[in-house]
């Protein structure tokens, strides 16, 4: 479900970094080591929650579009429908799906991001 990069691409980038000689005195290497730690954490969270998120997203997409299919097919159809104006960008059913998707993906990519609290705070108020 998650792309740009996929978990496989991220793992490949991580493996390439780990194969480089470590130069702990180099500031750039220190910075990249921290980035690599974050990449490992993302991969661990995605391994744990990715499949469940995709199954839930596929179910929501099927209900939203009235279609059946795998996640990629349905997600692609949703993008086409939005581009062609067949679904309005602020339609409540659409926003409910987008909200769930955004929450699911930030929980993998960056669970401490302030935007998650901001979105949940909105939901609490309305």
């Amino acid at each position: 479900m998650i792309s740009h990069p996929t978990a496989a691409e991220l793992a490949a980038g991580l493996a390439a970094f780990e194969a480089e000689p470590a130069t702990p005195e180099d500031a750039r290497h220190v910075f990249l080591s921290r980035v690599a730690d974050n990449a490992r954490a993302i991969l661990a969270r995605e391994a744990e929650h990715g499949a469940k998120l995709q199954a839930e997203a596929t179910e929501r997409l099927a209900a939203l579009l009235g279609q059946t299919g795998d996640f990629e097919t349905l997600n692609d159809q949703l993008c086409q429908a939005l581009r062609q104006g067949k679904i309005a960008p602020l339609a409540p059913a659409l926003l409910a799906h987008l909200r769930a998707m955004a929450i699911g993906q930030i929980a993998i990519d960056q669970p401490g991001y302030g935007g998650l609290a901001a979105l949940l705070d909105r939901g609490d108020r309305t």
Partner: protein, 322 residues
């Protein structure tokens, strides 16, 4: 290229009492631009900005001579900027470069929004940002170097074009393009000088004097003043302090009042949303340089996973618009 030796030779031109330059050290590791700190022998602290020898020309970034000219133009209208001392020529053997004063303060957003050291200046900072942007936006545009002109609709089309070329399937971005195209404000009556990257991170903040320098002018252009006001409100530059929309340190009303009350909150929030959308596309673009093999660093791969931060902010903004 021996930057330290070239700076040593240049020193007498930078201060009449200097005989050389010492302590030259590279600060940032950007691929498109280098920043060096150094001191003159008389103690003057300075900064060198230069294009690396092998840098590819970037479509959107200004030539450094133009950047220097804009800093001077902003200084002339009273905006806080580091004074430019010298735009280098080929004789200086530094390539495309200029030298400016080194300001004292902090640019790291996380420290500015959280550290006790900045607690005294934080309350006045959003208003001050509005005042300084008003000065920049009022700068005479007749004698500026050549700059691109943009407006909301043009920016949406440009970024949607980039998004289409990337062939990504991101329904949140699709919805955001449609939403913002339907609500885009008309171009301003008169395009003004826009800094283009005015955000927490590009502002030098002093613990007592507050905003002492507006940095990084390489994305400056002519356009809608609300663009600069919206960009500093993008959640990605609030460093976790998301309840303070202006840079993680202030409120909309303070920013708008500082600017003179001439721009509506609605217009600023449109540009804020467009800012999140642009940041999402930029993250995808940076990931693309990993995917194509142009830059296989783990950093480039990982920035693709920041697209989702812009997406969650867009969902919050779209929900708020219903």
């Amino acid at each position: 290229m021996d930057v330290a030796a070239a700076l040593d030779r240049l020193a007498p031109q930078l201060s009449p009492s200097a005989t050389g330059a010492v302590n030259a050290r590279r600060l940032s590791g950007g691929a498109s631009l280098e920043t060096w700190a150094f001191d003159l022998s008389d103690g003057t602290p300075l900064i060198l900005r230069r294009r690396p020898d092998a840098a590819l020309p970037r479509e959107t970034a200004l030539p450094l001579a133009s950047e220097a000219a804009l800093i001077r133009a902003a200084e002339a209208v009273g905006a806080p900027t580091p004074t430019v001392l010298k735009v280098c020529t080929p004789d200086d053997q530094l390539g495309e470069a200029y030298v400016m004063r080194r300001l004292e303060g902090e640019t790291l957003g996380r420290r500015i929004t959280r550290d006790e050291a900045f607690a005294a200046v934080r309350p006045g900072l959003a208003r001050r940002c509005g005042e300084v942007l008003a000065q920049i936006h009022a700068a005479p545009t007749t004698n500026l170097p050549p700059l691109a002109i943009s407006d909301a609709r043009g920016e949406l089309e440009r970024y949607e074009g980039i998004y289409r070329d990337l062939d990504a399937r991101r329904p949140i971005l699709e919805a955001a393009f449609r939403w913002l195209k339907a609500t885009a404000p008309p171009p301003p009556e008169r395009p003004v000088l826009i800094h283009g990257d005015f955000r927490n991170g590009n502002l030098m903040i002093h613990p007592e004097q507050g905003l002492v320098g507006v940095l990084d002018w390489e994305l400056a252009h002519l356009g809608d003043p609300a663009e600069d006001l919206g960009w500093i409100c993008v959640n990605s530059w609030r460093f976790g302090a998301w309840r303070k929309p202006v840079g993680g340190f202030g409120d909309y009303a303070e920013l708008l009042a500082g600017h003179g009350g001439d721009i509506s909150l609605e217009r600023v929030q449109f540009w804020q949303a467009l800012g999140s959308l642009k940041w999402a596309v930029m993250c995808l673009m940076m990931y693309q340089s990993f995917a194509t093999g142009a830059d296989r660093s783990i950093e480039r791969a990982m920035i693709g996973r920041r697209t989702s931060e812009a997406e969650i902010d867009l969902v919050t903004l779209m929900e708020g618009a219903t």
